[in-house]
Amino acid sequence: MIDVDIDQRFGAFHLAVKFAAEAPVVGLFGRSGAGKTSVVNAIAGIARPAHGSIRINDTLLFDAASKIDVAPEHRRVGYVFQDALLFPHLDVHANLHYGRRLRPPAERFIEPAWIVDLLGLYPLLHRKPGTLSGGEKQRVAIGRALLAQPRILLMDEPLASLDAPRKSEILDYIERLRDEVRIPIVYVSHSVAEIARLADTVVVLSGGKCVAVGSVDSVIGRLDLEPAIGRDESASLVHARVTAHDHRLTSRAFDGGEVAADARQSRIGVTGRHRRPMSQDTAVPGDVRMHGFAARAEVATALAWIDRHARRLGDEPVALAQAAGRVLAAPVAAPLDVPAFDRAAMDGYALRGAETTGASEYNPLAFTVVGQALAGQPFAGPLPAGSAVRIMTGAPVPAGADAVVPAEYAQMGATEVEISLAVPPGKHIGYRGEDIRTGAPVLAEGRRLRAQDVGLLASLGIAQASVVASPRVRIVVTGNEVVSPGEAKATYQIYDANSSMLRGLVARDGGVVESHRLLGDDPQRIRDALTAPGADVILVSGGSSVGSEDHAPRLVADAGELAIHGVAMRPSSPAGIGRIGEALVFLLPGNPVSCLCAYDFFAGRAIRLRGGRDADWPHRQRRAIVARKIVSAIGRVDYCRVRIVGDDVEPLALGGASILSSTTRADGFVIVPSESEGYGVGTDVAVYLYE
């Protein structure tokens, strides 16, 4: 049990932190300057707060009121600093024993041999700190702190000065420590990845204040903590068990699925926490709403929610003339045979094939021509033996005839025709139902009708098709600063770019814009627009984040369900997804690029699904080689606008979410999944093309 209540002013900075936490590992989290180190220094006795008290388990270490201030050497608080701070004049062995020698034997419960083994220090024992690598130094520092027989271990950004592989290595050691030494740890970090992996309870500091205390699952990912946690740091957590490794990927099983991620981490069988990467297979179960805000979801979670809730709309009949591009709601079966009768496939002479046996250029056979058959004007009556009927392509074959000799193998005389080609029965005849039989399936349900499909339907005599209703999309633009293009505007106002862009995107995905409303920031009007019937999908542009005028998230939560608010991606992290009645609501960021990205990722998918279309990206794809590196971060999906030069692809200047021109200059975009840190030069990547 760690009970901290301290108050201290450093010039303008006011540190006032009060929390109590009981856990094997308490994560003290916050950005730099949040006051984390001041808190641990106070716990260690290095700094003396002006007011308050500090208690560990049942021992009062500091109490300003009763003037209790236990000296640091008597607090038995092990402190691991950011840079190891090994004593340079002592070798590793002497460093390790420095603190141990100072404790009375009765207090020694952590044995050097154990720690040396646990931290893999044996090969280092006789070396001087100056010859150790950063990771080795940090391991020695941890061992030194432990051998001082502490009641609690404070670790202040122990990984901050290490490179990524060393970080991972030390994290492994710290995990073993947590599980084997069983000493409470206060772990200070600005990295969600580290906190998520190690801590059970998290204390979030911001500006010298404690803004949240709770289990790691409940705190990491809270959108309202974004200013304290940092946009790029938020994530969602999955508890999983390592099931397998291959050379690159580690598989982890959790309730509801399995994930695979980079292989730097734990041994098989170890249960640990995993920041869930983007994957298409399963969704993380569980309620993501908390405290009126939603967790910052992984992209995959958001997509899974959409796939569950974006139900296909009902059918509607549509005249064939308007059917192209629509999605068939039911399979179409042929109401008749095509062709409807046996017909000639060539211009020539219809006759009995058997009677042409032996006919050749040198041995033409003569047939009496008894008449002719034209398309729409059949030969009446049966064909007598030894005779032929002159026939045109598409004309019905007379009864008795079973083959057609093409005209070029026939020499017409006065009444007879000389045939110079032997044809087997059936030659050049299109039999009834040969193309399509009555009742045969012609087009499947869900088929997006192409021009030739519509032609086929027409050929079957079908005048109207039953198609999936087009999703009715309501575009709601919020923000007092937004003015329609063409109107006069004050300098501080901006033109509404998003709704014009959204109209085009909605049309692309098969939706129809039901209405388009420019509403300012009036919550009542926004509420009315959200709850009015008549829309299948509602797109709200602007006001989706956590600003004071951002009403939409609250209004959606009040009127229905705000399932997802905040997605771990860039740009457009504050996107929100929910539903009111039957309508799906998408809160799109006001910044045009974020808006485009959030639409493409989420809203467009929902519109396509509701309209019966394929959920996948509608964009054409191509492969290209990365010519300038594309930077992302683990735990975040990046929508990176790129330009294609020849067969190469390079990212455009990123950053500004409101720079719409970047999407105009871009040829397409590359998606960097959340388990990737980006793509290096030379990587072959898929580019989605803007068209």
Binding site: I46, E73, R76, F87, P88, D91, Y98, L102, G130, T131
Partner: protein
């Protein structure tokens, strides 16, 4: 060897003794002063700093005169020491050592202070959290890490002591066999006819001693610095 007689050897021995004693006796005080100036905050720190550095800028004769006034037989401190402890500095070799110590003190403090300032304070903090009391941390961490500076300071003070003239001659006068150190003896030889030969000989001795002191300082400093890195290649 250089034709030095017993008299000259006596002078050299006395000089070495005065310089060595002054160095050894002032060293603990200098380390404490340096630590206090480098690490502690206390009222009057600037004044203490100034007083320690005063001998560096004052004419040595003024320092000697001040010592004579304070520590002479009838001076306020000297009389107390004489009456209560029977300790007399005036006109004794111990007085010469004291004068050397006072003159060399700022040099010593400066060197030690610089090396203490250069030590990462957080190493001391780390040692405290590991269970070391303030004094144990000082002896086990601060002192070993400051060793190069301490050696350099000690040698500077020793060399200063060998060359001390003004304060010594003012405070304890030039008494052959008691307070006549090398510089004083050289000065005395130059004041008498046919004293140039002995003066030159003693000067050469002074040069040699200085060079040896410098070399020793360099060697010790290097050796102590090697403590900080592994000597395995």
């Amino acid at each position: 060897m250089l034709g030095l007689g017993a008299h000259e050897f006596g002078i050299i021995g006395l000089s070495l003794r005065v310089a060595l004693v002054s160095m050894i006796c002032s060293l603990p005080l200098a380390i404490l002063a340096a630590y206090a100036l480098a690490r502690l905050d206390f009222p009057g720190k600037t004044l203490v700093d100034a007083i320690i550095h005063l001998p560096l800028v004052l004419p040595p004769v003024v320092v000697g005169f001040a010592l004579l006034l304070l520590l002479g037989k009838h001076g306020p401190i000297g009389s107390v020491l004489d009456d209560w402890f029977g300790i007399v500095f005036a006109f004794r070799w111990t007085g010469a050592a004291l004068a050397s110590a006072v003159m060399g003190f700022p040099l010593m403090v400066r060197a030690v202070r610089l090396s203490i300032t250069a030590i990462d304070r957080r190493l001391e903090v780390a040692a405290r959290t590991l269970g070391g009391s303030r004094s144990w941390v000082f002896f086990s961490i601060t002192l070993p890490l400051a060793l190069p500076g301490i050696i350099a300071g000690a040698l500077l003070s020793f060399a200063r002591g060998l060359g001390e003239f003004g304060a010594t001659i003012t405070f304890v006068s030039n008494i052959p066999g008691e307070t006549e150190t090398l510089p004083l003896a050289i000065y005395a030889y130059t004041q008498v006819p046919s004293g140039d030969g002995p003066a030159l000989r003693l000067s050469i001795v002074a040069v040699v001693l200085s060079i040896v002191a410098l070399a020793a300082s360099e060697w010790l400093t290097r050796r102590s610095q090697r403590l900080h890195v592994d000597d395995r290649r």
